[in-house]
């Protein structure tokens, strides 16, 4: 399905100067959806809002791609105790750099979306967890939230609606694992970011033991749009099973890297060769990582007709992830790239459970051995074996995220790895 991207005008982050200022945001229709929901609570009951979001087909933009409205519906009936949203702004997956654009250029779209979500799930407080390295953007969000408080959108009995909620920013301090939703909760509770054993799930027992929903920043930023144009219209944007505008974060060996907003389902080839102005220095394409380092890479000959949505990518043998696309040209040393990716996961493993703690280290050490020229063919078999020993065996998915790039890069670029191994005096075959 081709998208008429040339005539697309960004809706998630419209090109309006000073949109981060609440006065500009409101002058452009901002907070109108939120006010509508609060003013017409008999029509827009919390359940009705949830259903609308579910029907829109919006899927989580943090990498897992779970239907957002469906996730909201898992929250139990209120029992009088506190309930929380943790907005996941930990954005640390290599190749991903899109949520910060929302923080910087349209923070109120996220705030409004989070407030609508808070109304839909009857939330006591929203905690916006932002990675500690985003200090500049933390300041921006704190200022925007303060403005929203001043305008009466957050607080007690908001606009006389009877709905009350609070919103706070919580800064991370350098840990990729805290982007995992249960690790994020542990971090918010003031502990080491160790993911929790599931069940119980956050909706049953989340922050401080209370029902909690964790949503990505971009996911929540889509909510005002859904209420504005309606679930049906939203579902018609972009790819059928993964609709809506999408922030594509494209980096690597293209002429015009950066964050783009287009409907979901853009063709990878279009993105690389048309939107991003083609490969740098006229080089040929070698590999594409579609959605962040955890998603399996695709060879240049594997992307024909593949579009940026979950169905197409799954068929092609990868995932949409965060749509953080990394483009690599023909001169790229895939062994070196894979080693550096494995170094990342080794550095970021929280260390709680055995297969990830030890496995990520072993993967890196083996890849380093191959990279520096001491690798043997059996090391490639060992790598694949280790992947099998790690996948599906751990408390959280970091081990899977570490194993998938190894498994698929070695498998899909086998000649590169074999060539590296063969050029040692220890080569057997």
């Amino acid at each position: 399905m081709s998208v008429d991207w040339k005539s697309y005008t960004p809706q998630l982050i419209p090109n309006i100067p000073d949109l981060h200022k609440i006065s500009v945001y409101e002058a452009n229709g901002g907070y109108a959806q939120y006010r509508k929901v609060l003013a017409e609570q008999t029509t827009w009951t919390p359940e009705a809002v949830t259903t609308e979001v579910k029907n829109s087909g919006l899927r989580g933009r943090g990498g897992a791609g779970f239907n957002t409205g469906l996730k909201w519906s898992f929250m139990p009936k209120p029992d009088g105790g506190p309930r929380y949203i943790a907005a996941n702004g930990d954005e640390s997956e290599p190749g991903t750099f899109k949520d910060r654009t929302i923080f910087e250029f349209n923070p109120h779209s996220f705030i409004e979306g989070a407030l609508i979500a808070a109304y839909a799930m009857r939330i006591t407080a929203v905690y916006v967890y932002i990675r500690g390295e985003y200090r500049s953007w933390i300041r921006m969000m704190e200022a925007a939230i303060a403005d929203a408080y001043k305008a009466g959108h957050i607080g007690s009995n908001i606009h006389g609606s009877g709905f009350s909620t609070d919103m706070y920013v919580h800064s991370g301090a350098g840990a990729y694992i805290c982007g995992e939703e249960s690790s994020l909760m542990e971090s918010l509770e003031g502990k080491r970011g160790y993911p929790r054993v599931k069940p119980p799930f956050p909706a049953q027992k989340g922050l401080w033991g209370r029902p909690t929903t964790i949503n990505n920043i971009e996911s929540l930023a889509n909510v005002p749009l859904i209420l504005q144009i309606g679930a049906q219209a939203y579902a018609n944007i972009g790819a059928k099973n993964h609709p809506g505008p999408l922030l594509y974060g494209i980096s690597g060996h293209v002429n015009k890297p950066g964050v783009y907003e287009f409907p979901s389902g853009m063709s990878i080839e279009t993105l690389i060769h048309d939107v991003c102005g083609g490969m740098r220095n006229g080089k040929k394409l070698k590999a594409v990582i579609p959605g962040g380092s955890s998603t399996p890479p695709l060879r240049a000959d594997q992307i024909s007709g593949v579009t940026m949505d979950s169905d197409s990518l799954r068929t092609a043998g990868s995932m949409l992830g965060t749509a953080g696309m990394v483009v690599m040209d023909e001169d790229t040393d895939m062994v070196d790239v894979l080693w550096r990716i494995s170094h990342f996961y080794h550095h970021e493993s929280c260390g709680q459970c055995t297969p990830c703690r030890e496995g990520t280290g072993w993967l890196e050490k083996t890849l380093h051995k191959i990279k520096r020229g001491d690798g043997e063919m059996r090391d490639l078999d060992l790598l694949l074996d280790l992947c099998t020993q790690m996948e599906g065996r751990t408390i959280c998915a970091l081990a899977d995220a570490a194993a998938w790039p190894v498994r698929y890069t070695v498998t899909r670029f086998r000649e590169d790895f074999e060539a590296r191994c063969k050029s040692t005096i220890y080569a057997l075959a």
């Binding site: 654009t101 690597g252 015009k256 970021e348």
Partner: protein, 178 residues
């Protein structure tokens, strides 16, 4: 270990109370207060960790466990400017290591070390979330400096030597750029 005594002023303690009030349980304040301490003292070494533990009435071992889990908390004093150069994935294939090695040579130190005059510490770090603007670096957990070249690094170092921090670089959607 340094003999400096670390303390919070009454105003800072009032800030701590405001931080605690944001959460239903005061243990959550450990991360923001560690940041507060690091912003004030430049690091959170063992003595600073003890101050935070005492201020929040948390076990010292717990605060130590938290401080050592997160990489942005400096467990010991760093140079005046900590230059975190990203060398991960997109920056890796975009020249990140070249930038790191350039700084190492220019400043005469290895990764992880501080210049003898105490001005600069250089580190290679994991993805900072600026992949489309590679290569890039962060200055002391704050401003990002993107689209690095050796010339730009020269300029930044000169500015920092005069204690002039580079300005924040706003980078909109590619479609929204002028």
């Amino acid at each position: 270990m340094s003999q400096t005594t670390y303390a919070f002023t009454p105003d800072e303690l009032a800030d701590v109370e405001r931080i605690k009030a944001r959460y239903p349980h005061h243990q959550s304040a450990v991360m923001p207060v560690l940041w507060m301490a690091q912003d004030k003292f430049g690091h959170v070494d063992a003595d600073v960790q003890r101050l935070v533990a005492a201020t929040l009435d948390l076990p010292e071992s717990h605060v130590h466990g938290v401080a050592t889990f997160y990489t942005q908390y400096f467990k010991e004093k760093q140079g005046r400017y900590v230059l975190d150069v990203c060398t991960c994935l997109s920056c890796h294939i975009g020249g990140g290591y070249e930038m790191l090695h350039y700084l190492e040579e220019k400043l005469g130190i290895q990764e992880g070390e501080t210049t003898p005059d105490g001005k600069f510490t250089v580190k290679g770090v994991e993805c900072l979330g600026a992949c489309g603007y590679a290569p890039m670096m962060q200055i002391t957990n704050d401003v990002f400096v993107n689209h690095l070249t050796t010339d730009k690094l020269d300029q930044v170092i000169e500015s920092l030597k005069k204690d002039e921090l580079p300005a924040f670089e706003p980078i909109p959607l590619v479609q929204n750029r002028a």
